[in-house]
Symmetry: C2
Subunit: 454 residues, 2 copies
């Protein structure tokens, strides 16, 4: 058999021409977004006050299986895609496992993560609609960076509300966004009503993703020619991110490799939803079976300890309600360093698939994640983002199970990004002063008791 | 004709199996290193006190054209190579030039630059010799990071002396090295005699590359089982870095593209020497002609304003003397943000080629470099290192000349790395408070007057 190279690169003309919409193959469709005032399903025209038209269409369409990727987006993809599927030969050897480990590496672009895949799509549709600009929030900073790059490419204004603790801990992330011409405001800010309210109530708050979302939405709907864009959770994002899974599958098919286990970290679900899309499609259509594992931080365990219920997507409760696995929109995750995974809810698509028993979920603790990250960096030569390292941690555990059982399983995981802007967290780990935090049952109960009655 | 893709990736089995030693084709060989005490050419056994045996062999060999790349190094190369040769379609369009622009991108690895190509080679030979560890210095931090990764891979101890101002301005670079298990000491330090002397004389000094080299060399020769390694200037480094040029040439040949102009930034010469090696080889053998342009910072202009003479490689004068274009080992470059280019001298190989009229040199100022860097980031989607941006700046100028003349020249430049750890410098640029500095003739004269009499 042909030896599989360290990195499988597709040819440029093998980059998928269409995104795949996994909802089309789901028997139980994700529940619709609800209007927070009426508790009725959001209509297209209601959503269009907040989101770009074409994106609303994508958001509401749960039957069309494939969407063409417009040429302008496709050309941009060519700048940094195809992303390599890496065979982790060195990691396999270091673990002494018979398992074959692959990872799809999405970090080889300046945004440092997979977020660019959806950012460029959303910026394109905003531009096509003739908008002046977009607003958004960012936690770890990956989404904000990606959106800044995308907006700069299309000449759109970009206003980013950055969770205050990230804004302060990650000044260099902020500078990357500024280099791409974005304006970056620490959240909560005095620029919005909701920000001012939160500051009045909690003057010392470090901010949260839910609060930054509220501010960005308010800013968009109150500014002429602006719309709000979001880097995760929404079904349109899972659609755009399907390019990760489609490329992964094509690369595996090229070498006749069949995955057994597919693993991804899960915050709002953008990476996991995209990575698993075509595999889940086969599973839904009964064409193949895979074990699919979502990995979340033990400090913010929406799938493993949350409830499947309608909830607000933001703290300010200005956004539509989504049916999802949630810890409650008032849940304040501890200061875990994987900022991209500190969200109280989970994509409706993934939530439904999980509830239907089509995927598993596990949670891992922060220090074991950084331990896996450091080992991975030394063995495979890539310093991973804390978020991605959740998937590494779980993949290593599965590979070690194979070592015990002697099974030669094929494990594929998503390496969503690099940790070059997360060295503050690595420093804590290197200094041996990183800690773990797992919310108590009482804490979770207190937050879940406040779920809206729908 | 087949459309050239945005990124030309060689296949894994097309990674060159040998390094090319351009000295073999030089009629005028680079002058030998001299013993600072005797002013006689350094013998192999003298050099072996400081450097690894096999590397000394490579350093002294100016006749063997090709060196086999050992399997262990080749396997490591497969983790992050081949590096893409990118066709800058978007940049060409933005400039409106008929020129065809290509860049060899060496930044897609965690060290963030081409430095890893030589680091892994040097670490391998140190391991093969049975050493415990190596010492080195780092300015901008790219070489130190690369060496940390390489040492971690082979289980070698790695002691890095980091120029003090970088150590303070770039705490996150330091953390990357620590994550790879290296120990990092700000230089000048109290760990060495030369460091203590310098601190006594200049208690407030921010350090310099020349001083950090002296400390690293002293540490190596005074520690059992250690040798010193260097990321630039030396001929062995130019040899290892030839992989950049060899891949570039192979990728161009694949599409029958003939380069007209080849451009690289030049500090000590590691990138430029590697990029141009096979092209210069053709030129030396009379098989083809190319314009080859070295780009240096106006604040540290060794080729454009220095002297071709024997000089010390370090401030402490513990290293051998090299014949090179130099500003004098006592020259203190202004606080330019391209730390990797702030070196008083230049590779003996490149110095000889330049003196023989086989290549050109230009200097560019800091603010125009960052202006080019920012534009490039926005247009081509890669946020470049300040060092690499010198080459971008010069390439853009050449492309604009083509626009004026209507010539469809093919320009190839080296994009040596990413600027993710240089956001402090970008911040200054974004805030509009970056300045330029060009040394006066008197300043240069004062330094050049102190060149050793050889």
């Amino acid at each position: 058999m042909e030896k599989i190279p360290y990195k499988i690169y597709l040819e440029e003309n093998e980059i998928p021409r269409q995104w795949y919409n996994v909802r089309a193959d789901m028997k139980n469709k994700p529940a619709p977004l609800l209007n927070p005032a009426t508790l009725q399903p959001m209509t297209a025209s209601e959503l269009e006050n907040v989101f770009c038209k074409e994106l609303v269409k994508q958001e509401l369409d749960d039957t069309t299986a494939y969407f063409d990727i417009p040429d302008e987006i496709y050309d941009f993809y060519k700048m940094y895609r195809p992303a390599p599927l890496v065979r982790a030969y060195f990691l396999e050897k270091a673990l002494g496992t018979p398992a074959k480990i692959y990872y799809k590496f999405e970090g080889n672009n300046t945004s440092g993560s997979h977020k660019l895949n959806s950012a460029i799509a959303q910026a394109y549709y905003a531009k096509a609609q003739g908008l002046k600009g977009v607003t958004t929030e960012t936690g770890a900073g990956q989404w904000g960076t990606a959106l800044s790059m995308a907006c700069s490419f299309f000449g759109l204004d970009c206003k980013v509300f950055m969770v205050k603790c990230s804004y302060e801990q990650k000044p260099f992330r902020r500078e990357v966004m500024r280099t791409y011409g974005a304006s970056v405001t620490p959240s909560p800010s005095t620029e919005t009503n909701v920000g001012r309210q939160i500051l009045q109530e909690f003057p010392d708050t470090n901010g949260s993703l839910g609060c930054a979302i509220s501010e960005a939405v308010e800013k968009a709907v109150s500014s002429e020619g602006y719309r709000y864009v979001l880097g995760s959770v929404l079904s349109q994002v899972v659609l755009h991110q399907s390019i990760i899974g489609l490329e992964t599958k094509k690369a595996l098919d090229k070498y006749n490799v069949k995955a057994d286990i597919i693993i991804g970290c899960a915050g709002g679900g953008s990476n996991l939803g995209g990575l698993i899309a075509p595999f889940m499609g086969e599973k839904l259509r009964g064409e193949a079976d895979y074990r699919i594992i979502a990995v979340e931080p033990a400090s913010c365990p929406s799938l493993t300890r949350g409830k499947f219920a309608y909830d607000f997507c933001d703290t300010g409760k200005v956004c539509p309600l989504a049916k999802m696995y949630t810890l409650g929109s008032g849940f304040m995750p501890s200061a875990n360093h994987a900022g991209g995974l500190r969200y109280h809810g989970m994509s409706s698509v993934l939530s439904q698939l999980y509830d239907d028993g089509l995927m598993e979920a596990v949670s891992v603790e922060q220090t074991e994640v950084f331990d896996a990250a450091q080992k991975f960096a030394r063995i495979e030569g890539i310093l991973p983002a804390p978020e991605s390292s959740h998937a590494i941690c779980a993949a290593v555990k599965e590979a070690l199970k194979c070592k015990e059982s002697g099974e030669e399983k094929t494990i594929v995981f998503g390496l969503t990004g690099t940790g070059y802007f997360d060295m503050y967290a690595y420093q804590k780990f290197n200094d041996g002063i990183m800690s773990d935090y797992i919310p108590t049952d009482d804490e979770l109960k207190a937050s879940l008791d406040k779920l809206p009655k729908v």
